[in-house]
């Protein structure tokens, strides 16, 4: 099956991101294709490289980055939601005249159209949120 995944909450405060991650891993193990993982609302906060979570617990951002690299996944962060919450790539930093950018490796910033397109292209779009 060609699957799309939507992550609507940030790391730690809600378990949604963990569940989405575990679902993605299980789906890949079963041989499904993950067409795109789209991060919306506070989900964009999964994409900051500045988190320093406690050492005795999982590092959610790092897990996403590693999963992306291992399976060449398309992790997309919604630009509108990211702008609201302060998740920037280098391009956005320059465009918006900010003095820093913070996006983690493996994530790319793009428009809401990517979410709709995932809905069109995938057999199933699965949402993880509150």
């Amino acid at each position: 099956m060609k699957l799309g995944i939507v992550v609507n909450e940030g790391p730690y405060t809600h378990e949604a991101s963990d569940t989405a991650y575990n679902f993605a891993v299980a789906a890949l193990e079963k041989g499904h294709e993950i067409y795109r993982i789209f991060f919306y609302h506070d989900g964009v906060n999964n994409a900051t490289r500045l988190t320093v979570p406690p050492q005795d617990d999982r590092n959610i951002q790092q897990k996403w980055t590693e999963l992306q690299e291992k399976h060449d996944l398309d992790l997309v962060v919604c630009i509108a939601a990211a702008q609201r919450r302060g998740i920037l790539d280098e391009n956005e930093m320059k465009r918006q005249g900010k003095d820093a950018y913070n996006i983690a490796p493996g994530f790319r910033i793009s428009g809401l159209g990517q979410l709709i397109e995932a809905g069109i292209q995938c057999d199933r779009l699965v949402t993880f949120g509150d």
Partner: protein, 136 residues
């Protein structure tokens, strides 16, 4: 259903203020309109509050996005399903809701209401009949 067109259902379960889900969900609907899919909206649980008329956000200091619902007809949203049980549970009736309209191109552009009040059971059938469910 023509080639490449899917039935999209946007499910709204949260009140318009207190959280951002209502506003950001609307943003998806508006952008999604450009993709010319078959779009329906569903409002249930606290989501029905989004459609109550007479919003006054002047003391909130945040954006009043109520006018966006009135503009949905211009974005080819003609079917807005509102769950009856959710209204009843909140002491609301159809009279409390905004009058969302659309222009029917198959009927000389006659203005028609977009809101259809449906039962919880019908809502389940509506969800089952859609290809893509976006829930916020």
């Amino acid at each position: 259903m023509s080639e490449g067109v899917k039935k999209f259902l946007y499910v709204n379960r949260k009140a318009p203020h207190g959280t951002i889900y209502a506003l950001e969900a609307l943003e998806v609907v508006l952008i999604g309109a450009a993709f010319e899919q078959d779009v329906e909206l569903a409002f249930l649980d606290d989501g029905v509050f989004q459609l109550v008329k007479g919003w006054d956000t002047s003391d909130l200091g945040s954006k009043n996005f109520a006018p966006t619902y009135m503009a949905l007809g211009d974005f080819e949203v003609t079917k807005v399903f509102v769950e009856k049980e959710s209204l009843d549970e909140r002491g609301l009736t159809a009279d409390d809701l905004m009058e969302l309209m659309y222009e029917d191109e198959d009927d000389d552009w006659a203005e028609k209401p977009s809101i259809r009040i449906v039962s919880r059971e019908e809502m389940a059938r509506i969800m089952a009949a859609n290809d893509v469910i976006l829930s916020f």
